[in-house]
């Protein structure tokens, strides 16, 4: 079996579809493969957000912990999604928990390393921010639809 490089994995991922190959090569230098078993945390609310994840396979729950209820899943992420954007925004701390709900394979990208590269190469940084803006917009749209509680309403 041919082992794919990090840049190969990033090139195959829809999140990086809009980025030129040379930028992906540059970004790949900050990445590593990782596997999380079911129940393992990829990030915890309040912890430093020095990494974000490109999901290759599996399922990740975006959760918040309530003392009386335990973890409450607000959204799940799967292959093709990106988890974590707190690495871009000060104070660089996770806003929610991210926990593997089944065995999950990811490319973990070092946020500190990437922030430095974005400063060094602003055009690449702008392209990456545009990709994140699209991801964040899609996530907000989905959350807003969730808030509408569509199925709970009486259909007239």
């Amino acid at each position: 079996m041919i082992k794919k490089s990090i840049s190969d994995l990033l090139k195959e991922h829809p999140f990086f579809a809009s980025l030129p190959a040379n930028y992906i090569e540059f970004i790949a230098g900050c990445g590593r493969n990782a596997v999380y078993e079911a129940g393992a945390y990829l990030g915890r609310e309040g912890d430093p957000a020095d990494v974000f994840f490109i999901i290759r396979s599996g399922l990740i729950g975006i959760e918040s912990y309530a003392p009386d209820e335990g973890p409450i899943t607000v959204q799940t992420m799967t292959a093709g999604n990106v988890v974590g954007w707190s690495w871009i925004v000060p104070p660089y701390r996770w806003q929610f928990d991210a926990r593997a709900l089944e065995t999950t394979r990811v490319v973990a990208l070092d946020g500190k390393c990437l922030r430095a590269k974005c400063e060094e190469e602003p055009l690449m940084g702008y392209q990456l921010m545009k990709a994140f803006a699209a991801e964040i917009t899609g996530r907000f749209r989905a959350n807003r639809l969730q808030l509408l509680d569509l199925y709970g309403r009486a259909q007239k």
């Binding site: 209820e69 973890p71 899943t73 607000v74 093709g80 089944e102 509680d149 309403r153 259909q155």
Partner: protein, 278 residues
């Protein structure tokens, strides 16, 4: 009786005995009705169910293919008519007339990919379609079903959902908006799942039923992925009275839902769906 062939079937309700009643969720019930003669109703079509002195409601068939002895309707208890009907028990009767309306495009979808997206009680009209697709799997390329609910407790047809989830020949996804502790499935709106589906856009037929806002976002999500608006079908709902296109209560722009629908191509509705107060 063969529905449209009989004038009585269109105007005069017939009383059918309830053979079985299943509580699907807190406020959703399925009624299995006994038939004395065959009843030619196809996936997508609906009957007008009658509560004496209160009125009628249009309810789609929710199991198929049509059998000679049983007709199944799944009803959500949301108003005075449905409250009356949902309170009935096996041995009692439900009055109905029909069938009315057009059908889901099962034949034009032959040979291609098919994606079903159902939200909430919208799974009821889609179940006969899923059953028909599964009965003829070899005639389609890839079949995907996305089923959304407010929470796992409000997911209807749980036995079917479990069976569909376990099948390897069906790409099935159930997703909920609110996940209780212990739920390990997908959380999020149906449009989030659409991003994950594999299909060939130009050879795909999409059929969706659910709240209108959900269908609008769903249709747009498929258009974004390259599926032509002509290949996306929605089941519309409006306040129907006569069910045969005479009274005009269910007018929707130039369309009369009961007569021209309830199943419409998105290309015919897209502009209308963005007009407020319509």
């Amino acid at each position: 009786m063969t529905g449209r062939d009989s004038v009585d079937g269109l105007w005069a309700p017939q009383a059918l005995r309830i053979a079985n009643k299943v509580q699907e969720s807190t406020d959703v019930f399925s009624f299995e009705l006994e038939l004395e003669q065959s009843f030619d109703i196809r996936p997508g079509q609906f009957n007008m169910l009658y509560a004496f002195g209160k009125g009628e409601v249009p309810i789609s068939m929710s199991a198929g293919p049509p059998t000679t002895t049983r007709l199944v309707h799944t009803i959500r208890n949301v108003g005075k008519i449905t409250t009356d009907i949902c309170a009935r028990e096996p041995g009692e009767e439900i009055e109905l007339r029909g069938p009315f309306g057009n059908t889901w495009p099962l034949e034009s979808a032959l040979g291609g990919d098919v994606v079903i997206v159902a939200g909430g009680i919208g799974l009821a009209p889609m179940r006969p379609v899923i059953q028909a697709l599964l009965a003829n799997l070899e005639q389609y390329r890839r079949i995907s079903v996305v089923c959304g609910a407010r929470s796992p407790y409000e997911l209807i047809f749980r036995e079917d959902v479990e069976e569909w989830s376990a099948r390897r020949d069906l790409d099935f996804h159930a997703t909920v908006d609110i996940a209780p502790r212990g739920w390990t499935g997908t959380v999020g709106v149906v449009t989030s799942v659409i991003e994950q589906l594999s299909f060939e856009p130009q050879r795909t037929t999409v059929m969706t039923c659910g709240p209108e806002i959900m269908m609008r976002f769903t249709a747009d999500a498929f258009c974004d992925r390259g599926v032509p608006a002509e290949s996306i079908f929605l089941s519309m709902e409006r306040n129907m009275k006569c069910a045969v296109g005479f009274c005009g209560h269910c007018m929707y722009g130039p369309h009369i839902i009961c007569r021209d629908g309830p199943v419409f191509r998105y290309s015919r509705l897209r502009d209308l769906l963005h007009i407020r107060e319509l």
